[in-house]
């Protein structure tokens, strides 16, 4: 039995709105859906005429609908906005690579320019690589923290006034629930804000804040919008999934619970005696943070040090981990130095008149740049040449690397993140190689460029030719690799001592 549209337009209804229970036809639904978003935008004063606005685009249903609706409303109500799609490539094979194609399609369909930034460019790590280190349990922490900053950086690059994200009502209700479940009062307080962003940061706005997921999907379906719907390959273990399942069960029983949870979140007040972390900027990277050093910097630091769990859990734990790590590093450093000294005394490490090929093919040469203080020969294929004339203090090490290159733009970005890492090191009191001539170049290494550094050490007269990209990429692994060549000793990296 067809149900007539509740507006009395004479058409048959196509769906029951979860928010109101109204049965509407397609046309009346489109109108209601778009107009509500228009009210959300105007009431929240999300945009100003003439603004450039980045639409955070993942290729999924929410951002696809957001882009479509913003374009529609921008024309219908003459907002005068300049809309740009901004995508983040986390480097998740089988997920983001496919969804980015959808975003490119959206870009063409909606005639909006598109900017894509990758984690690899920004942080030197893809999510695939991070998951290989951290496992599947906490990877969403990395992804979320990094994405937040990545969007900020992208927005800064595009010089936009604000970033519009596709967070829908279900997402926000879910977040309220999550913050309650975790006792995260600071986030609970601000997660329902329609526009977030403190001084000096680019505001985020959520035009779909009051739009139900069901309506977003129905809108996309009826409008035949192309969107990408594969679940993130890493997501199934995320805690959020449980909150989501609970919410969907509740919504089935009483659809208005979504709006009610948001309302609760909006109106809940936090007791005055509850101390909240103050929002400030990270002393390392200057992005907004509730801590001295922001989460992204700590996570990145952990990754680059081979302590991927560093940023997971409490900061006191992180401090302890770093202390232990430093102690261990000092020990192994001493060990390595004495070992090498012994070796050189015996003078048996040098293959006279021969080329000693170390088989460092599988990126095994991992040395934390920050601790071993010498230029790493972290390479895919590294050739160690010891010439005949080599003496204890005259060696030549040459490393050829897999070629990576990047644009100037990337170089800028990566330099930024590296100086960040450098500052972090100082912050955590990790011995920063100031006494080693090579270290600075190394720490400043750009993760995504081919870098050839010839370091002439007046004492040792060493020459290095190092790809720092590989260096950063492989930092995590073991540090006690021995040279696979004739010498069988700790490889060239330690020779600098």
């Amino acid at each position: 039995m067809p149900v007539p549209c509740a507006t009395g337009c004479g058409r048959n209804a196509s769906l029951k709105r979860p928010k109101t229970g109204d049965a509407l036809c397609k046309e009346c639904f489109f109108w209601a859906f778009e107009t509500e978003i228009h009210f959300t935008i105007t009431r929240g004063e999300l945009f100003n005429r003439g603004d450039s606005v980045a639409v955070a685009a993942s290729g999924g249903k929410d951002s696809t609908v957001l882009a479509h609706v913003l374009k529609t409303l921008n024309e219908r109500y003459n907002y005068g906005l300049n809309l740009i799609l901004l995508s983040i490539d986390e480097g998740i094979t089988g997920y983001r690579d496919d969804s980015l194609e959808t975003v490119m399609q959206n870009s063409a369909d909606y005639v909006m320019p598109l900017k894509i930034l990758s984690y690899k460019d920004l942080y030197g790590w893809t999510m695939d690589e991070i998951v290989a280190q951290i496992g599947r349990k906490n990877n969403c922490t990395f992804c979320g923290v990094f994405r937040r900053q990545a969007l900020d950086r992208g927005a800064a690059l595009l010089n936009v006034k604000c970033i519009a994200t596709g967070h829908n009502a279900d997402d926000i209700a879910e977040t309220v629930l999550m913050n309650v479940l975790r006792g995260d009062i600071a986030r609970l307080k601000r997660c329902t804000a329609i526009s977030t962003g403190s001084e000096g940061t680019i505001p985020r706005v959520k035009p779909l804040k009051y739009s139900y997921e069901k309506e977003i999907v129905m809108y996309a379906h009826y409008k035949k919008l192309v969107y990408f719907s594969t679940e993130c390959v890493f997501a199934p273990n995320a805690y959020r999934g449980h909150a989501r399942a609970l919410l969907k069960d509740l919504e089935k029983i009483r659809p208005t619970c979504i709006m009610d949870i948001i309302y609760s979140g909006e109106t809940m007040s936090v007791k005055e005696e509850v101390t909240l972390p103050t929002q400030r900027t990270c002393s390392r990277c200057n992005f907004v943070s509730s801590q001295e050093v922001c989460k992204a910097c700590v996570l990145l630091e952990g990754l680059n040090k081979g302590l991927p769990k560093l940023g997971i859990g409490k900061s006191s734990k992180a401090k302890r981990m770093l202390e232990e790590y430093n102690a261990k590093q000092n020990d192994s450093l001493q060990e390595a130095i004495s070992e090498i000294n012994d070796e050189f005394k015996k003078n048996n490490c040098i293959s006279k008149g021969k080329v000693c090929k170390s088989n460092c093919k599988s990126k095994e040469n991992k040395h934390s740049t920050t601790d071993l203080n010498t230029v790493d020969a972290n390479t895919n294929s590294c050739e160690q040449v010891h010439s005949n004339e080599v003496t204890d203090d005259n060696k030549e090490t040459k490393c050829c690397n897999k070629k990576q290159y990047c644009t100037n733009k990337k170089t800028n970005e990566t330099n930024e993140s590296n100086s960040k890492a450098e500052k972090l090191l100082a912050e955590y009191g990790i011995p920063e190689s100031s006494d080693k001539p090579n270290s600075i170049e190394e720490t400043n290494s750009s993760q995504d460029k081919v870098c050839e550094i010839d370091v002439s050490n007046s004492v040792d007269n060493e020459e290095f030719d190092v790809d720092l990209h590989t260096n950063d990429e492989v930092i995590l692994k073991e540090e006690d690799n021995t040279c696979a060549g004739a010498c069988g000793k700790v490889d060239s990296l330690h020779i600098g001592f």
């Binding site: 769906l15 249903k61 596709g166 679940e231 089935k252």
Partner: protein, 109 residues
Amino acid sequence: MAHPIKLQIQFGGGAELLFDSIKSRTIELPAIDKYFPECQREKWTIKELLVWMKDNLLRERPELFLQGDSVRPGILVLVNDTDWELYDELSYELLEGDTIAFISTLHGG
């Protein structure tokens, strides 16, 4: 008398991933009393369709598609492109040539 009926079933929004990634297919349901000898009804409803789909089409992880005797909350069901909530949901009696679509809202963002 119960008859076999032909239907079009469609999947979207990621739900197709549980059904061999085939987005649309035509199925023929046998006479309901052949498939469910216990069943008193003469006509197929969506409730029985779901059981049939579970037995015949659903390849993996049925809990991602079904919950209890209905679809998992978050999967939308459309009867001839209309929200099944306007059509008695599970009790909707299927007619020859109906198109039933299952669209997941649970995938991606």
